[in-house]
């Protein structure tokens, strides 16, 4: 059964889109990630124009982050104040990102830029995660204890001015790196269509030394607003959010996520991370191949759009 996507302007098989949404939802539930970094490349592989894939991916992340954020809010593992400071940076970053996005589209380099950014990010994060999880698996095999955490340790981040007190997180931290991190993630949201949790969570833990228990809930909180904002701005400037595509993905995604969570609870943490790392690397490699392989036609034509 085919369904016509009015913004992407092509007919697709509804079951493939449902399957894609369910699979990514399953994985995002299993690994506790938003899934934007998987859905956007998958859509591109399925010939959805990258412009539409990115904007629709951001819309899909709104849905997949909400239920997680609600859970964390109920448990009290969400620092609203910290989330709001992150959000200030995030909204500014998303605005700048959409501006860069439109500019890249105008000069005809958007598709390339999206792919390169994905290859670089997925490649480096996948490699880091794989290394870390293999090390952890070796340790578990040899029954070595985990290296001791040193919570009191400070780095350059903690010497910055404009300090604020975050009661829920029990930290006293400069607003500068928080806004900066939010800004960077906001840019990625609008250019790549990701929530950015897979970068934000490690950065909050290792760089800002924010207690692990509030990190996931707080990052989800900011992701909801930044992706919602990005969806609005993309719809207003690039007209590239496909509501039909997004709805199919979202419904399949939230259902898939419920089953993913159950499977995820049965698997061990380091095995889970190794699997996710392999998946991330696979997507990155597939995109890299697309950049290197000689295209069918070196010419392309775009209606409208002025190029100079």
């Amino acid at each position: 059964m085919t369904v016509y996507l009015p913004i992407a302007e092509l007919s697709v098989n509804i079951f493939i889109i449902l399957g894609m949404g369910a699979a990514v939802g399953f994985l995002s539930g299993m690994f506790g990630v938003g899934g934007g970094f998987l859905i956007t490349p998958l859509l591109i592989f399925y010939n959805i124009p990258p412009v539409v894939a990115v904007a629709t991916g951001a819309n899909q992340v709104v849905a997949s982050s909400i239920s997680g954020a609600i859970t964390h809010f109920r448990r009290g593992t969400l620092d609203m104040k910290l989330g709001s400071v992150l959000l200030v940076g995030g909204l500014a970053g998303a605005t700048a990102g959409v501006w860069v996005f439109s500019w890249l589209r105008r000069i005809g380099q958007l598709d390339l830029f999206i792919s390169v950014l994905y290859v670089v990010l997925l490649g480096s994060i996948g490699t880091l995660m794989l290394q870390e999880s293999v090390r952890a698996m070796r340790r578990a095999k040899n029954n070595q204890p985990l290296p001791l955490k040193r919570p009191g340790q400070h780095n350059w981040v903690h010497r910055l001015p404009l300090k604020m007190r975050f009661k829920k997180s029990k930290i006293y931290l400069s607003a500068i790196p928080i806004v900066g991190l939010g800004f960077g993630i906001g840019v990625l949201t609008s250019i790549m269509g990701v929530g950015g949790g897979f970068i934000m969570v490690p950065a909050m833990i290792y760089l800002l030394r924010i207690p692990t228990n509030v990190v996931v809930g707080t990052s989800l909180f900011q992701i909801i607003f930044v992706t919602a904002y990005t969806t609005m701005v993309q719809a207003a400037t690039n007209y590239s959010v496909d509501i039909v595509l997004a709805s199919i993905l979202m419904v399949a995604g939230v259902i898939g996520a419920q089953y993913g969570v159950r499977v995820g609870q049965k698997l061990r943490g380091e095995q889970l991370r190794a699997l996710l790392a392999l998946l991330v690397l696979a997507v990155g490699i597939r995109l890299a191949i697309g950049l290197i392989v000689t295209p069918d036609d070196v010419y392309s034509v775009a209606a409208g759009g002025m190029s100079y």
């Binding site: 819309n59 509501i243 939230v254 000689t294 002025m306």
Partner: protein, 267 residues
């Protein structure tokens, strides 16, 4: 009797298709100027979302046609359907540090987004290229003027060829060199192909009458292509009320996410 003689004398020239034939004075037979009339069953085409392409039939008649010229097939008709015009940018990829990227681009001024042509025979055998270029009839003769100054004229030709090839490949440009048929001596029927991805908006049907390779008259008729159905309503909403549309997208996401957390709540 005199006319018959003239025909016999003229025939070798006409069969050879020499342009000189057109200049042969024809006396009283070609006294009245030929006219052309066209008509379609509709001035508006509604396209539903499951549209897979169709044929549009245009009927036309020649008036004051010279019987003799008709009999020997010296009249040629070309009918085109031109879509709304817009800028079009052609880009070329090259390998840079192992990666394929767009390195060069050229934007053409106001070219039809779609173009469908039907003719009695190959248009290049009807008339010569320079005069076809002048009137802009035929895919190879459409005016493709680059925006801005391009110093390398070889590059312009290369990008024009690429543009035409890509448009023909994706079906937006079509030609059927036997699409116009005479159903009686002066009545013709033209079948134009509407591609599945035809753009909506104001299209223009144009009919050209050639006599011995010379354009003698032309007619045009507007044709509105309107897309209907829910898909078109969505596209319109996305472009006309982008903020409300974006808000709706976010709202659907919120409801889906929130709904799932209620439906699947364990406790």
């Amino acid at each position: 009797m005199r006319r018959l003689l003239q025909t016999i004398l003229l025939l070798p020239f006409l069969v050879l298709g020499s342009p000189a034939a057109a200049q042969v004075p024809f006396g009283e037979a070609s006294g009245a100027k030929e006219g052309l009339e066209i008509g379609a069953s509709t001035s508006e085409i509604a396209i539903t979302s499951d549209f897979r392409g169709a044929d549009l039939t245009i009927f036309g008649a020649l008036t004051n046609a010279d019987e003799l010229f008709l009999a020997i097939g010296q009249y040629d008709v070309v009918v085109t359907l031109e879509g709304p015009k817009d800028y079009a940018t052609v880009r070329k990829k090259e390998r840079v540090f192992g990666i394929w990227m767009n390195t060069e681009g050229m934007t053409f001024e106001q070219v039809p987004e779609s173009y469908s042509l039907a003719s009695t025979r190959m248009i290049d055998s009807i008339d010569e290229a320079p005069s076809l270029n002048n009137i802009g009839v035929g895919i190879d003769h459409l005016a493709l003027n680059p925006v801005g100054y391009i110093p390398d004229s070889g590059m312009i030709g290369e990008f024009r060829d690429a543009y035409r090839r890509l448009k023909l490949t994706n079906g937006l440009y079509q030609r059927d060199t036997s699409g116009v048929r005479f159903v009686s001596s002066s009545l013709f029927r033209a079948s134009l192909k509407l591609p599945a991805n035809i753009p909506d908006g104001m299209h223009m049907v144009r009919a050209y009458l050639f006599k011995s390779g010379q354009l003698i008259t032309q007619r045009e008729m507007p044709l509105r292509v309107v897309k209907t159905g829910i898909e078109q309503a969505i596209t319109d909403a996305a472009h006309d009320r982008p903020l409300a549309y974006g808000l709706l997208c976010v709202l659907i996401a919120v409801i889906t996410g929130w709904g799932a957390s209620i439906v699947f709540r364990k406790d």
